[in-house]
């Protein structure tokens, strides 16, 4: 498995645990952690795209 994909479970756990420490209500935890996870993956993908563009 390419090392890059280790970022997916890492981002998922960080998002879920971090948001659990922010709120108590399950629905709010799920909602905010999903948003955080998606934003993190999009951010990492964009960063990867920029680095790939400049290195190619």
């Amino acid at each position: 498995m390419p090392s890059l994909f280790y970022a997916v479970p890492l981002a998922a756990v960080i998002s879920l645990v971090y948001c659990s420490t922010r709120y108590e209500l399950p629905a709010r935890i799920y909602q905010t952690s999903t948003v955080m996870f998606v934003k993190t993956i999009i951010g990492l993908a964009m960063l990867y795209g920029v680095l790939w563009y400049f290195s190619s």
Partner: protein
């Protein structure tokens, strides 16, 4: 301010439980969902990192040899090794009990007398290394069986069975002579093994006089034990960037548990989750929009 809807019970006890086992403090408080999230989330990250890093990313100390001419495992008692703490362990230890073996191993390592010059118990282990014949080295792999030799100080007798790694020639020889073993507790699954004074041993056309290499070390003697930079180099060479990723996983698991401990003690940082936005916040947003 703590939300009155949450039953914190004893906050101090909850924080201690949360430190020892991720999620245990929340389970004690009856916050089962959070207990599950912390337990499975943090521990899967920690043990995922352990598996990715061959169970070796967690250690509390790095050791340095006093005598650079000898490997750290073979340092004698009169040349005590120096150690420094691993910065990463400051994060890893926050996972609690799963990282505690490092402290036990640190204590065992520091009370260790160094290289073992006396064979006291039998050895049955796989072997990787080679026979020394003057200046030449004949690499071999196989199995070594040794027992303490009666009357000889530290000597052992037994046999080696294996093959030469260059041309797969079978080797089966009887061994007898003084044995030196690497220190018992060390953060490497391989233990240094030196046997000298061999007589009447024939490997192909050579008549070697010594056997140098490594045998396996038991899990309880290497798991989370202090190691030297040579062992860290070996891990990087074997696992490449996976070792670094494994370390990051275990560091982040510990840092996440720090937030979970605080949640057990003080409650969620932003509130229960059903609050309406503050009026000041809304007004602030409005002002900002008006300015821009």
């Amino acid at each position: 301010m703590r939300d009155p809807r949450i039953n914190f019970r004893s906050r101090e006890l909850a924080a201690i439980l949360a430190f020892l086992i991720p999620g245990a403090g929340h389970f004690y408080q009856g916050r089962r969902l959070k207990a599950g999230i912390y337990f499975f989330g943090i521990l899967s990250l920690f043990f995922g990192g352990m598996i990715l890093g061959d169970w070796q990313p967690v250690y509390s100390q790095v050791a340095y040899a006093a005598r650079p001419d000898l490997p750290l495992q073979m340092q004698p008692q009169d040349a005590p090794v120096s150690t420094r703490y691993s910065i990463g362990y400051a994060a890893q230890v926050l996972v609690g009990l799963p990282a505690v073996p490092s402290l036990i191993q640190q204590s065992r390592f520091s009370s260790d007398a160094g290289v073992v010059n006396t064979l006291r118990t039998s050895i049955h282990s796989d072997f990787v290394g080679g026979f020394m014949d003057g200046g030449s080295f004949i690499p071999v792999t196989g199995h070594v069986t040794l027992s303490p030799q009666g009357g000889g100080a530290g000597a052992g007798e037994g046999q080696f069975q294996g093959v030469t790694t260059r041309d797969d020639e079978p080797v089966s020889v009887k061994l007898s002579g003084p044995v030196k073993l690497g220190r018992p507790v060390f953060g490497s699954p391989r233990r240094e093994f030196y046997m000298s004074g061999l007589k009447g041993v024939a490997v192909g056309a050579s008549t070697p006089t010594a056997l140098h290499g490594t045998i396996s070390r038991s899990f309880k003697d290497w798991y989370q034990a202090p190691r030297d930079s040579a062992e860290l180099d070996r891990l990087h060479s074997k696992l490449s960037q996976n070792y670094d990723i494994a370390c990051v996983f275990t560091w982040i698991a510990g840092l996440l548990n720090l937030m979970a401990i605080w949640d057990a003690f003080e409650g969620p940082a932003y509130g229960y989750g059903d609050e309406k936005p503050d009026e000041d916040e809304e007004a602030g947003d409005g002002k900002e929009e008006a300015v821009t």
